[in-house]
């Protein structure tokens, strides 16, 4: 193929430009070859090290020139006050044009010294946290107002949307929440059995599984899963609707985004969380029970009888009281972050992450408060 090309001399010239080069001859720099980016090679580096300043650049040997070649000529001319000779019209034009756009520049934005920067970041994130807390409170207030509006005017309640969210938040989560809880039941039973065996008290494994799942783990693990599944989805859905100006469009049509977007999700999360949490606790019991049966040889009958003995009903209440609160927090954080999206698609990602982190954090903080509270009212 190459041989074929070389048969055509005029083509060969175009196809294989000579590399750019220069030679210094007394006070004259003679440039030759194609002064294009592809053919420059080490010429820019060599140009830096020319010994004595030339007075004339002779461009008559240059076959072709692009803006980078023209820039090199312009730079020499600018820095050393050199005359240019032998340039054809095009080259002259190009060098002139490149010269016109020569400005002082800066590649990176200014950065303050690192100590100042660290302080600045601490300050900024403090202010931002403050804003988030205030924003969340305001958002909670707006949601309450929306609830009140719907109570005054029940026709505005979006039943269909709520039922759709039931499906997304509750039904679709059954498989993953069930599997997760089942495995956690097995893990608790197994770890508990290893420790309790040392005292010959393997049978207390059942106490451990029963109390832990109903009080804490069932609802906590479900909350974490729902935050990851639904809280993030709320933020991403509402966030992308904000970007597409759908939320603004709703407002102009007279639809309240609080009523049509936020409320159905919050209601669904509040109602679905207890169901999921109870289901999760049951699945964990099944996991723990199966493990006890096969590994500890405690038959299911014994397991169920003992569960009924050792798990007080207040444990179940605790889980069922905490679950809707967690649901509220997760859905509020998700919708709030979604409504905060502004600017570009990157913000959707950031806000989604923030929604999950905030809701899990708040869930765990509140869980600690609940633990202290229930203990102090005697639900031990």
């Amino acid at each position: 193929m190459l041989a074929r090309r070389n048969d055509l001399p005029h083509l060969a010239r175009r196809m294989t430009p000579r590399p750019a080069d220069f030679a210094q001859d007394d006070r004259t720099l003679r440039f030759t070859g194609a002064w294009t980016l592809a053919q420059l090679g080490d010429v820019p580096a060599r140009l830096e090290h020319i010994d004595d300043t030339p007075e004339i650049i002779d461009l008559s040997g240059v076959e072709r020139m692009d803006t980078v070649g023209a820039w090199l000529v312009h730079r020499l001319q600018r820095d050393h006050d050199i005359r240019i000779e032998g340039a054809d019209d095009k080259a002259e034009d190009l060098i002139g044009k490149v010269g016109q756009v020569d400005r002082p520049f800066q590649i990176q934005p200014d950065e303050p010294p690192s100590f100042q920067r660290v302080l600045g970041r601490i300050g900024k994130s403090t202010v931002r946290s403050g804003h988030t807390v205030v924003g969340l409170l305001a958002f909670f207030g707006e949601t309450l107002i929306a609830v009140w509006q719907v109570i005054l005017n029940p026709k505005r309640f979006r039943g269909n949307a709520v039922i759709r969210q039931f499906e997304v938040v509750g039904l679709d989560a059954l498989a993953i929440v069930g599997l997760m809880s089942f495995l956690i039941g097995i893990v608790i039973a197994q770890q508990g059995a290893i420790q309790l065996r040392q005292f010959g008290a393997e049978v207390y494994t059942i106490n451990l599984v029963g109390r832990l799942t109903f009080r804490e783990l069932g609802v906590l693990m479900t909350a974490i899963m729902v935050a990851g599944r639904s809280g993030s989805a709320f933020a991403a859905q509402i966030g992308s609707m904000r970007l597409a100006e759908e939320v603004d469009a709703m407002r102009t049509i007279g639809l309240s985004p609080m009523e049509s977007l936020v409320l159905p999700r919050v209601v669904a999360a509040i109602l679905m969380m207890p169901v999921l949490a109870f289901y999760a606790a049951m699945m964990a019991l099944i996991g723990g029970g199966l493990f006890s049966w096969f590994a500890l040889h405690l038959p299911p009958v014994t397991f169920v009888a003992r569960i009924r003995e050792v798990v007080p009903l207040t444990d179940v209440y605790q889980g069922l009281i905490k679950a809707p609160v967690f649901g509220l927090i997760i859905s509020m954080a998700g919708c709030f972050q979604g409504m905060q999206v502004e600017g570009n698609a990157e913000a959707v990602g950031l806000r989604t992450t923030a929604a999950v982190v905030q809701s899990i954090f708040l869930v765990i903080v509140l869980d600690a408060f609940f633990a202290v509270f229930f203990a102090s009212i005697g639900w031990i």
Binding site: L11, R14, L40, D66, T67, L94, V101, Q108
Partner: protein, 310 residues
């Protein structure tokens, strides 16, 4: 087959055909976008590509630059087939073209200047940092952005500025071939006109070949040498706007002869007339001044002088 294709490639170089699309078919699932489409782009021309929404203008561009695997067909760029190339060969072709995507497609974690430097670093790793910075800077200024925007991040720029920054990146390696996907969409008329002038200027100065997808009738009239019309899944016609107008294709007639098309054509005529008028005015002013300064008897001779100096 290979021998035949080589002969074809050599023929392309002599004919100065930069892009040859032959018998291209693209489909997404059941939906056929291009059905045996043919197109040629000549060296040094600005080819406008027009077509209704969803006629596959962007898909055609993506096929040519290798982002979309065609269902069948041949695409030659710079006389070499794009189909059966390994990574190194593909890179050799890619370093000869620049692409401006619809929304600029700037890398969001890099400043504008760093964005422009990305292709330079990738293809010419030996360039020293100082030269890289200088090249980025003059390219950015040349596309009409203020010099301060070099150190800004894409998120700090407006849509039009982002487009200019995207153009600066597309031009970073001084490509021979430039792909522009709706460069003037979303720009204000002044910005769009400046963009047109910039592209035309670059073509005249550097001999660029430009593949330009646009809906902007003013751009078509102002800078395009030829226009390719995409309709019914292939290129129905290629030619100058006057040639296209002579055709009896309903879509073409509606496109160029609709109210907007006529307005664009008229504004082009008007600006041409205005230019002529301005030139004539200048001659007249010249004549008047000379006439006032000199004696009436020599008037005729002076008039001729005035005409010449213009």
């Amino acid at each position: 087959m290979v021998a035949l294709r080589t002969a074809q490639a050599t023929q392309d170089e002599t004919d100065d055909i930069v892009i040859r699309v032959h018998d291209l078919t693209n489909r997404f699932g059941e939906q056929v976008v291009h059905d045996h489409l043919d197109l040629e782009v000549r060296r040094g021309e600005i080819l406008g590509v027009v077509g209704g929404s969803g006629t596959g203008k962007s898909v055609l561009m993506r096929s040519i630059i290798g982002l979309q695997e065609p269902a069948s067909g041949e695409i030659d760029v710079f006389g070499e087939s794009m189909g059966d190339r390994n990574e190194a060969q593909a890179k050799d072709v890619r370093r000869r073209w620049g692409v401006l995507f619809q929304n600029g497609a700037l890398f969001s974690t890099l400043t504008v200047a760093e964005n422009v430097q990305v292709p330079l670093r990738e293809y010419y790793p030996k360039l020293d940092q100082m030269l890289l910075d200088e090249i980025a800077s003059y390219k950015i200024v040349a596309t009409g952005l203020p010099a301060e925007s070099s150190s800004k991040f894409p998120s700090e720029l407006s849509g039009g500025m982002r487009k200019r920054a995207g153009l600066a990146r597309a031009l970073a390696i001084d490509p021979e071939l430039l792909f522009l996907d709706e460069p003037t969409a979303g720009l204000d008329p002044i910005g769009a006109e400046a963009f047109d002038a910039l592209i035309k200027g670059l073509r005249d100065l550097l001999g660029l070949t430009v593949f330009l997808i646009t809906h902007d009738l003013d751009t078509l009239h102002a800078i395009c040498d030829r226009v390719a019309v995409l309709a019914d899944k292939h290129v129905v016609a290629v030619g100058t706007i006057d040639e296209l107008l002579a055709l009896d294709h309903p879509w073409i007639q509606e496109y160029f002869n609709g109210p907007r098309g006529r307005a664009a054509a008229q504004s082009k005529e008007r600006s041409a007339i205005a230019d002529d008028q301005r030139r004539a005015d200048m001659v007249a002013v010249d004549r008047d001044t000379t006439a006032n300064e000199t004696a009436g008897t020599e008037r005729a001779a002076q008039q001729q002088d005035g005409g010449r100096t213009d």
